[in-house]
């Protein structure tokens, strides 16, 4: 049983990164029905902004808390600006026109971000400062937990809880949910639709940036291509949970993380994707709306 719990810990840690990115997919999809393929790459941008602060600008030598807070908050802001720019220049003119054209634009933006990052930060692997957080940990029975793991999972739970509260309890959150159901009705109720769409993109970017920095801290190595696999897994997670459904995306992310950890642990890393996608397809065949998605009634 020892390895099982160990894999579970790894799975939940990685799963929380996926969950954060999946939330970005789900929020944006819920509101404008767009699969924002640039979501994973936003994470990458966040990771590199964090790296720039910590390494290039030397924030790693500041007191730990200052460094950490700066390394989270500033990339969040920066990525939000990037995402708003993408929305403004690339997606907005196409909204309400052709869904396929926006999708292609999203793929184009993903390619653009990757190549821009390669141009700015170079094609090589960059490393986060390894000594930022104590690498030590402790044992619970046979299971080894590191402080980094605990901190990262806690931060992502905090972010997810905050998001959930925001969407469920605030007026703006209610407006977002209304928009997800019907744009025109929401507009007629006096909701500023454009502002809510912008908010969704900001939220998506903030979560993506957080997961990017966390990935950097956890895996140490970052590269301009890292967004692709992350985005793919997160997208899978969002669909597994039922796309458009916020708790679904969280659960989906955790599930994908666990699945990946168990596959790697018990089987072999080279079958990871086959298992992940196999499970996804099976779930969708059995339950076409995803695990937590609700049946969307079609208007007759």
């Amino acid at each position: 049983m020892g390895p099982f719990f160990q894999y579970t810990v790894i799975g939940l840690t990685v799963g929380s990164f996926y969950a954060l990115v999946a939330l970005g997919y789900t929020i944006v999809y819920g509101i404008i029905r767009l699969i924002n393929f640039a979501q994973g790459d936003l994470s990458m941008v966040g990771a590199f902004l964090g790296w720039t602060l910590l390494v290039s600008l030397g924030f790693q030598h500041l007191p730990l808390y200052v460094a950490l807070i700066a390394a989270f908050v500033i990339p969040m802001l920066g990525t939000a600006v990037v995402n708003l720019g993408i929305l403004q220049f690339a997606y907005r003119p196409l909204l309400r026109r052709s869904l396929l054209a926006i999708l292609i634009t999203a793929l184009g933006m993903s390619l653009f971000l990757q190549n821009l990052a390669e141009l700015i930060w170079g094609p090589a692997i960059n490393a986060y400062p390894p000594s930022l957080l104590p690498a030590s940990g402790f044992f619970v029975g046979p299971v080894h937990l590191t402080y980094v793991q605990i901190a990262l999972v806690l931060v992502s739970l905090l972010l997810m809880g905050g998001l959930l509260l925001f969407v469920q309890r605030t007026t703006v959150g209610t407006a977002m949910r209304a928009l997800a159901v019907d744009h025109d009705a929401a507009r007629l109720m006096g909701i500023n639709v454009d502002a809510v769409i912008r908010l969704a993109f900001v939220l998506g970017a903030v979560l993506a940036a957080a997961s990017g920095v966390m990935l950097g801290v956890y895996y140490v190595q970052i590269q301009f291509t890292m967004g692709f696999l992350l985005g793919l897994r997160a997208f899978t997670a969002a669909v597994l949970g039922g796309i458009g459904n916020i708790p679904g995306a969280m659960a989906g992310g955790m599930l994908i993380g666990l699945l990946e950890a168990y596959t790697t642990g018990y089987l072999s890393g080279k079958w990871e994707d086959v298992i992940v996608f196999g499970v996804l397809i099976t779930v969708l065949v059995v339950k076409p709306t995803g695990l937590f998605g609700e049946r969307v009634a079609e208007r007759m």
Binding site: S98, G108, L111, F112, Q114, V274, F277, L284, V296, M300
Partner: protein
């Protein structure tokens, strides 16, 4: 001015040239265009340019296949590289392990990928399109990784030393040879794709893309058609893959990544979704642009991305968008006397009825005679959450009558229609049509049993011409097979011509022959409703359900509608009508059922229903309901 131009020699020559072009069969046009392109490239005589052209032709084949899936059927496929891979591996393994000739492996590569498409498509095509996107993406990745982990196929190293193709003893080994082969395959792919597009299959695909629910409700088997699209798309991909394998000589899993799927998708959107010349143009741009940008080396993908995004902003419909207009749809079709037309329709319908009687007699069933029950609804219950939308409703519609359902908004009338047509499955109760239960059948099956319908909120295929809308309604009556459509056989051509002719008759019947070539959305509200009626009639139903056909019509149009409904009944078609216009309902109906809050409160001839105290109390007697009744209830 234009008349002058047409009179001048130049104008005449232009007109006759255009006419000649229109009469030239598509395959001849494709051959000419590809031959000219081929000669141009070969004439240039540069090996580098030729090899780029071969790549462009390969992408063209891929694009044509994906275009069937995305452009025609409207299914988003993000894992198309899987089919490319399966085709390439099938062909490569047969060539290296079984030492087959390339051309012999082609049918197997195509067959295998088609089968793979069917296996993946069958369980997943019911999913919503965004979910399908991730499923196909997953399929693409799974295929690639499986090849990567499959030792027999060389694992990550792939298959090496794939022989060059051998054509009747000639070894094809120069770039020019490959270019010839690729053009030949491309021509086949293009001609077949075009034939499919212009067949009933193509029409069904467009209908599904426009409005899947409406398509299914007028008799298009949407699931089967989507599966066809998927399988065909796979076959085209297999063809391209097999060619790729022999041309490159060594394949490995890195040739079949998600990026390739995306590139092919970009290609067809760039060119113009659904447009064949667009696909070719897209392939040339997607393959050629990175070559042109080669001097920028490191930044070329960045530039490509920027150009792509800009292109989508400036021209989201693509470089060479698909045009679907035919101002004179019946041009060249033999004229029919208008008097004969109604007689022909009547005769056609009687043929249908007799055929049905024979079919039923052969199966040992009785067919409802005039005045006997055609549709029996017994104890129908439908619930939405806690609401009982239809609560224990029973009635019988007799053959040959005009039967109306009235009741205040929310009484459950449309829900009854939806239960009869298979859109919803009732919680309880039986529905017998012709003595046979139709509960639980898919809508298109119920259409083929002989039930047609129109919708409360008009659901025409918006980007199709009026005559095409009616032709979609004829879908259940086609007899040609898919392979016939692909080859465009004489039988298929006759069937298409017959369909066109019948569509014209029905348009004449509803009085819309003049506007047959217009887009459905360009018509007035009343005319759109008449198109819907024509579309429902085209399948020669025995029972039609009209859901508020008079909504939005002015008094003159309503009067015409009364005449139309009577003429439909005179054809021997039983009519069930929902409407809020009391004078229309009272005038036209033989019997009326009154629903209120899901329950049947009265049933009988108009005079009797009007006197019924329950009806007066629940419905007619209340002033505010009269007001709400008079308002059209659009979607």
């Amino acid at each position: 001015m234009i008349a002058q131009l047409a009179d001048s020699g130049l104008g005449r020559r232009y007109a006759s040239a255009r006419d000649l072009l229109a009469r030239t069969p598509f395959w001849a046009r494709v051959l000419v265009v590809l031959a000219v392109l081929g000669l141009a490239v070969l004439g240039y005589g540069d090996d580098y340019v030729t090899s780029v052209a071969v790549t462009a032709a390969t992408y063209g084949m891929l694009g044509l296949g994906l275009n069937i899936v995305v452009g025609y059927a409207g299914l988003l496929d993000l894992g198309y590289a899987a089919f490319f891979a399966i085709g390439a591996y099938t062909s490569a393994l047969l060539m290296t392990q079984a030492h087959w000739n390339f051309f012999t492996t082609l049918p197997f590569a195509v067959l295998f990928t088609g089968t793979a498409g069917a296996i993946l498509g069958y369980p997943t095509l019911r999913l919503r399109s965004d979910y399908l996107a991730i499923v196909t993406l997953g399929f693409g990745e799974m295929t690639r990784i499986s090849f990567n982990n499959w030792d027999y196929a060389g694992g990550p190293n792939g298959i090496l030393q794939i022989p060059w193709p051998n054509l009747f003893g000639f070894q094809l080994d120069t770039q020019a040879d490959f270019f010839g082969v690729s053009l030949f395959l491309l021509a086949i792919a293009m001609i077949f794709a075009q034939h499919l597009d212009h067949s009933r299959l193509g029409r069904g695909w467009v209908a599904i893309r426009e409005d899947e629910f409406a398509a299914e409700s007028v008799g298009v088997p949407s699931l089967r058609l989507k599966l066809f699209a998927y399988v065909m798309g796979g076959m085209w991909g297999g063809l391209a893959g097999a060619f790729f394998a022999t041309r490159i000589g060594a394949i490995d899993p890195t040739s079949f990544t998600f990026q390739l799927s995306v590139l092919v998708l970009i290609l067809i959107v760039l060119g113009g979704v659904g447009s064949l010349p667009g696909v070719l143009l897209g392939a040339v741009v997607v393959v050629g642009l990175p070559e042109v940008l080669r001097q920028f080396a490191d930044q070329r993908l960045l530039i490509f991305a920027v150009l792509l995004v800009l292109m989508m902003l400036v021209r989201p419909q693509g470089l060479w968008p698909r045009i679907r207009r035919k101002p004179k749809p019946f041009y060249g079709l033999e004229e029919e006397e208008s008097g004969e037309l109604s007689a022909t329709i009547l005769r056609e319908h009687q043929v249908q009825v007799e055929e049905r009687v024979r079919r039923h007699a052969a199966a040992g069933r009785q067919v409802a005679q005039q005045g006997e029950p055609l549709l029996e609804v017994r104890g129908l219950v439908q619930r939405f959450g806690g609401l009982r939308a239809v609560d224990d409703v029973s009635f019988v519609v007799r053959r040959g009558e005009i039967f109306s359902m009235i009741g205040p908004n929310g009484a459950g009338k449309t829900t009854v229609f939806n239960c009869i047509t298979g859109v919803q499955r009732p919680r309880r109760g039986t529905i017998l049509f012709d003595g046979r239960s139709i509960v639980g059948l898919r809508p298109h099956v119920i259409v083929s049993r002989g039930v047609g319908r129109t919708f409360q909120g008009i659901r025409l295929f918006r980007n199709m011409a009026v005559f095409e809308n009616v032709m979609v309604g004829l879908y259940p009556r086609h007899r040609t097979m898919t392979w016939q459509a692909m080859l465009h056989t004489p039988g298929e051509r006759r069937d298409e011509l017959r369909t066109l002719q019948e569509a014209r008759r029905w348009l004449h019947f509803v009085g819309l022959e003049e506007v047959a070539g217009r887009l459905a959305t360009e018509l007035s509200y009343a005319d759109q409703r008449r198109v819907e009626i024509g579309r429902a009639l085209a399948a020669h139903p025995h029972l039609v359900l009209f859901d508020e056909p008079a909504a939005g019509m002015n008094p003159t149009e309503k009067l015409e509608l009364v005449g139309l409904i009577r003429r439909i009944r005179d054809l021997g078609i039983t009519v069930v009508l929902i409407d809020h216009d009391m004078s229309l309902v009272m005038r036209v109906s033989d019997r009326i059922a009154v629903l209120d809050q899901g329950r049947l409160i009265a049933l009988g001839p108009a005079a009797q229903v009007q006197q019924d105290p329950a009806v007066i109390e629940a419905y007619l007697g209340r002033e505010e309901d009269e007001l709400s009744m008079a308002e059209p209830r659009g979607a």
